[in-house]
């Protein structure tokens, strides 16, 4: 059976790729489009390292079929910075040492960006529960949550 020809929008640019039905959106981003910023940590939706935005909703790219991207708008980590201007979250993850190995960082930044768009002034608990789907094994989450709260404050102009 011929592959699906999928046309979609990724980080504001039109994109198209061929994929088989069982290929996940994560496989398509990484293997067909070379966007390796989203990472595979488990392929079962339990680690969040492949978090992307699909039509404005935060999802795990490993639990979406590539063919479902037809006509959708997708945002990945590669689209968070505007050219060389880092997003406040990216800046604070660096300044507040919110990453060590960095493999979970893309997922955390996409998820935290979705959080701040949903709730510009989250409490620590709200941030921790929203980000519970993003596993990190190096940091113990402390500096990640602080970086998210600091970025939120900066974005609110607080």
């Amino acid at each position: 059976m011929a592959k699906h020809h999928v046309t979609t929008t990724i980080n504001g640019d039109p994109a198209e790729f061929l994929c088989e039905t069982q290929q996940t959106l994560l496989d398509c981003l990484r293997d067909e489009l070379g966007l390796t910023g989203s990472k595979e940590g488990c392929a079962s939706g339990d680690c969040g390292a492949c978090s992307v935005m699909l039509d404005g909703r935060l999802v795990c790219a490993c639990l979406v079929l590539g063919v479902e991207a037809e006509g959708a708008t997708i945002e990945t980590i590669e689209g968070v910075a505007q050219g060389d201007e880092l997003h406040p979250l990216q800046k604070h993850f660096l300044e507040d040492a919110a990453l060590q190995c960095g493999v979970c960082t893309p997922g955390f930044i996409v998820a935290a960006k979705a959080l701040l768009e949903h709730n510009p002034d989250p409490t620590e608990t709200e941030a921790r529960y929203w980000l519970a789907g993003n596993l990190c094994r190096c940091t113990g989450y402390d500096k990640i949550i602080k970086a998210v709260m600091n970025a939120a404050a900066e974005m609110r102009g607080a």
């Binding site: 996940t24 939706g45 978090s51 999802v59 479902e68």
Partner: protein, 289 residues
């Protein structure tokens, strides 16, 4: 993986046609948060995947006869954002909103959670407690069914080949009524329920319970409506004695298994504990505290 067809029907009729043509080798795709994990692990090998998210009727939430009609493909995140449903049936919304992480919430649907047939499905006990019904479409037309009659055992449903759930109906809330759902998971998030308890009850003007439904998850091959537990509350002020009797009925109804998440003894005891706590929250909501 043999080559898998993929269909995106735009209407219920079109979907029924797709499914009927696939002679039982088709799987319905709503959120996909269970289906894709099973696909990857090779537990399922469908010949056809039917994506029902493009059918408007399955994505809508609207009022009906004082209650709500919720599309089977509505995601947890969407339902969680619907203030009206959340106000009327907080327990049902709690059940759906507890499924997995924010990322899972962006996709997981009531239809998928029910039809995946997991005994521990978080949204099912609260739906059963709410006496919710489903509207089902299939080759022989449409029919209604109670939620508690859909799942027949782990991973098994009573849906006939080619049938799928189109929407759920949450009945009108009687005055002075409340519902709640609680579950026990080892962490604070990201786990499958070791025990789940959904309670829905209504009181008369003097605070006496006129109606009560108690449903448990993960303590039997499928989510179970514990009639004796409900009876233990009806006619009482839902005081400690009544709650203890209800908890005892819950413990008797448990037929759990030992598995990697919990033991028989543990599930049996905690089922009673959670049912009591959920009933207290439902009571508080019913008396408008």
């Amino acid at each position: 993986m043999s080559e898998i067809q993929f269909a995106t029907p735009q209407t219920v009729k079109e979907a029924v046609k797709c499914l009927a043509g696939a002679k039982g080798k088709a799987r319905v795709l709503a959120g996909g948060t269970d289906l894709l994990v099973q696909l990857r692990a090779g537990f399922v090998r469908p010949g056809l995947i039917v994506d029902i998210k493009h059918i408007p009727e399955l994505r809508k939430v609207k009022r009906e006869d004082g209650g709500f009609r919720i599309g089977a493909a509505v995601s947890g995140a969407e339902l969680g954002a619907n203030a009206a449903v959340k106000k009327a049936w907080p327990g049902v919304v709690e059940g759906l909103e507890l499924i997995g992480s924010t990322q899972i919430q962006g996709r997981a649907s009531l239809g998928g959670n029910l039809c995946n047939g997991s005994p521990a499905a978080d949204s099912v006990p609260a739906l059963i407690a709410a006496a919710a019904t489903c509207h089902i479409a299939g080759p022989k037309g449409t029919r209604e069914a109670k939620v508690e009659d859909i799942v027949s055992g782990p991973g098994k449903t009573t849906l006939k080949p080619g049938e799928f759930v189109v929407s759920f109906f949450l009945p009108k809330r009687p005055k002075r009524s409340g519902d709640a759902y609680l579950r026990l998971i080892p962490r604070t998030e990201m786990d499958i329920a070791v025990v789940g308890a959904g309670v829905s009850l209504a009181l008369d003007s003097k605070g006496v319970c006129t109606e009560a439904r108690v449903a448990l998850g993960a303590v039997a091959p499928k989510a179970v409506l514990v009639k004796a537990a409900g009876k233990a509350l009806v006619g009482t002020k839902v005081d400690d004695a009544a709650l203890e009797a209800m908890a005892a009925a819950c413990r008797d109804a448990c037929k759990p298994i030992d598995d990697k998440r919990g033991t028989v003894a543990y599930r049996t005891k905690v089922a009673g504990v959670l049912a009591q706590r959920a009933a207290r929250i439902a009571l508080a909501r019913a008396t408008g505290e």
